[in-house]
Structure formats: C-alpha cells, structure tokens
Symmetry: D2
Subunit: 142 residues, 4 copies
Amino acid sequence: MPDATPDLEAIKRHFAQDHFAATSGIEILELQQGFARTALKVEERHLNSVGIAQGGAIFTLADLAFAMACNSSGQVAVAINTTLSFLRPTPGGSLVAEATEVSRSRRISTCTVRVLDESERLVALFQGTAYIKDEPFPPVSD
Amino acid sequence: MPDATPDLEAIKRHFAQDHFAATSGIEILELQQGFARTALKVEERHLNSVGIAQGGAIFTLADLAFAMACNSSGQVAVAINTTLSFLRPTPGGSLVAEATEVSRSRRISTCTVRVLDESERLVALFQGTAYIKDEPFPPVSD
Amino acid sequence: MPDATPDLEAIKRHFAQDHFAATSGIEILELQQGFARTALKVEERHLNSVGIAQGGAIFTLADLAFAMACNSSGQVAVAINTTLSFLRPTPGGSLVAEATEVSRSRRISTCTVRVLDESERLVALFQGTAYIKDEPFPPVSD
Amino acid sequence: MPDATPDLEAIKRHFAQDHFAATSGIEILELQQGFARTALKVEERHLNSVGIAQGGAIFTLADLAFAMACNSSGQVAVAINTTLSFLRPTPGGSLVAEATEVSRSRRISTCTVRVLDESERLVALFQGTAYIKDEPFPPVSD
C-alpha cells in the first residue's frame, strides 16, 4: 500500500503548502525517508513577552520536521501526540530542527526532533507520535 | 517574594506583548490566579497542508494560556516542558484554551490546558510544567 | 466488533492476572466503561533509596487503571505512550489511581489518571494513549 | 556545592538501596557522570495479563537509570516528570536501559533513556526531567 519508493519531492511540495508553517517563516531544508530538517530565522515577531523565541514558534518548527519525517514513507501519518522540552532560551539567530523516525510499526511512527541553534547547541527536544493510515501520501488530490 | 495579591491586569498587559501569540491571532480572554483562557479564530493562515488547524497554532493557543496561568501568582515561572495530544481535527471555527494550575510547589507549577471547539468538544489536551523563580512577575522593567 | 455491552466482570478478572501489578501489591477497586480505580498500600518494598514511594510503583498503579479504562469498551487497546508527573512525595499510606477515558476515536483512546493520597491530595498525574484494535476484549483465549 | 569529582561508587551503593527497583529485579550495570545503565531479566512475574513485559517493569528499569544519570554529578536531583513510549512488545529475555543526560542547566536535568532487548532493538523510549537542588548527593546521612 505505501509506495515502495516514496516521491520525496512531491512530499516536500505538499508540505510547502502548510499555511501556518509558511506564514510563521519556517523553511524546509531537507527530506529523506525517515529524516527531515527545517529552519527558522528568529525575528522579532517570533519572540514572546520576555524577548526570547516563543514556545509556539519552536513547536511549529519541530512539528513540521516531525510531520515530514513520519509521512516520508509515502503513507498518510496523522499526529497523535507530542512532547517538547525547552532546554535553552533563544534570543535570536537561526534554529534548525532535525527529525528522525526512531521507530515505525505497521500503525505507529515515533520521531524525535532535535532543535539546534547556530552554535549547534541543543535548545529544545521534541518527540512526536503518529498513526499510520492505509492511504498514499501525498494525497491523490494534490 | 511573590505578591500577596498579584496584579492580574498588569500580567495580562504583559502577555499582550507576546509577539508570536499576537501575530498568530491569539486573544486573551480571562485571567484569574491559577486559571487563564485564550481564544483563536481559525482562519486559512492557521491551517496545515491538509486543511485542518495546524499543530503549531493549537500549541501557541494552549501555551499562552499555560504561561499566563503559571505566572498568575506574581512570580516568574519559566516553561520546562509540555505535552500536547491531538484528539479531534479542527477545520475552522473558534477554539478556546482553558488552563488550570493543578499543582504548585515552591519551585514547580504544573498546568493542564483543555482546548475546546465551538461545540465545547475537547479537541486537544495540553500539559505544561514550569520552574518558579524568586523574581516578581511581571518584571519590574515593564 | 466491540461488544455493545462489555463484560466488565470478565475484564476485571482478566486484569487480575497481571503478574507485575499483582506482585507489586496493586489492587483493583472499580471498573466502569471508561473509568477505573486501583489502589496501593505503600510499604517498605515500594520505597526508593530516599524513603518515598518509587516512581515505578506509582507508574504501575496508574498504568493498571489506564489499561483497564481504555480496554473497558470490550475492544483490545494497546498502550502507545504515557506521561507521568510527580507532584508530591509519598512516604507511606495508601494511594488510589482514578483513570478516566477523556477521548476515544475509532483507533485512539486517551486517558488521564489522577493519583491521590489518603487526604485526597493529588500526588501524581498520568496520561496514557492507546491504539484500539478490531479484536474483542478480553481475548477469547481467556 | 556539587562535588567537583562525584563519588560514583557511593552513588551506585546508594541506588542499590532502592527497595522497589531491587525487589523488581532491576540490576545496576554501570554509572559514569551523565550516563547510567541498568538491566532486567524478564521473568513471569514481570509480565502483564497478555504475556508481555508490563509497562511498570519497563518504567522501573528506565527510571532507575534516569535517577542515577541525573544524580551522577554529586548534587541531589528530584524527578519532575517522565514520558515513556512503548515501541515493541517484549515477551521475555533481558532488557537494558541506557540513560544519557542530554541537557543540564543550574536547576534542570533532562535525560533520555533507550531500552534495548537482547538483539539491541529499541523496545521503549523514556525521557525524564529532574529538578537539581543545592544539596550533595549521596545524602550525608548515608
């Protein structure tokens, strides 16, 4: 049911249509089967009330990488739940999220996402779990 | 060190300065000590690539309610980690997040946030944990 | 596929066969559809190296209540992941875990579990997510 | 306040006094600063009602490794919260948990724990967060 060879370029094009990620300034850097990278240049609009990158901006960055990684096998995967740990405040600069699918059974995909700053320091740690459906990805309607 | 009577209006004014929440369209509805409510009218810009409210938009809504609730006693509280479960997809309409501080020790605040749609159905469940500092909130620099 | 009327007594008998819960001293108090209660009398064998109830003992208490609640509709539910927050140390006495299924879709059950001490204080907060299969529960092999 | 050189042997002796871990059959394999390994031989008493290692047994194994890793710098660290994902059922054999402290600030330690079976397959993924106190570890009362 999943493509033997997922169309990674079509998957990237699909995720480029994510309105909230795009308007939040999240950029897609890379997609391989089971791995994805996204980036965010932290601007004033991404800050919270005390001048550091807002949790929601970091979540959106990590969540897009997670969504891409768990859908990268050519089968629809829907997020069930996520965790996010804030390890180091980020006042500015660029962030990169690296999502790795650490486990995949017939129905469940589990990914960990590391969020790194420009000095390659770990600023946040995310985990996402998705439910895998018997439907091709990207959807045929694309 | 915490105000015996936190200045809830000053705390609300402080959180109105959250750039990412404000530009994402999150609205502050209510603040009491240990309780906060925020709202989001889901527009096209909040959708993901398959036409439902993006996880990051829901996170940002819930996270602002959490931040307000754990800071509502007049002492700085910094987010340590969060969990978010997606229970029901939301294609549009308005969402409300209700944060309740379920536990507060000298150093740790734990809040649960329920995200409800217009029919009062639970669409997401969030939990946030924060570290409490010996500093007044809002900061005196405000 | 699920029983219209799950056999709650058969489900309780099934969970009474949980070796680790039973040898850990966990007791089944109550089961309704979507709700379960378990209990633990904290003895020396449940303590950690600093004399309070060990995290694993509290987890086992909460996890059994979660397993019962998410299987209480007569369909097999398999744990995907869990979270556990430790809110108050417990040096002794009795603990009760109350699991409530807060959301159930065709494939995913989400339960929250409150762990209370004898004074009805919240000592731990647990959340569990399970994958629902098209198989009757308890298994016909019972 | 923390020992410049934590006494790893004293820390291991301290954790050997964890009643629940010891009576559950958890064995301490290794401790370095920021890293710990524990083991469990899965016996009938560790199984749940459907014949696989119970979640509480896996939690206890991972939690002890976490507790050792976050206390391995010679300062008391108290668990705040944990997550546990079940990736693969384990009907028997031996399990090893490897805890790594992935982040440590002045007050917060975050550890990830990988639980592996005899074939080095990842069967569970745990994350633990602890609050660091200004007290030496092991406690002077030891």
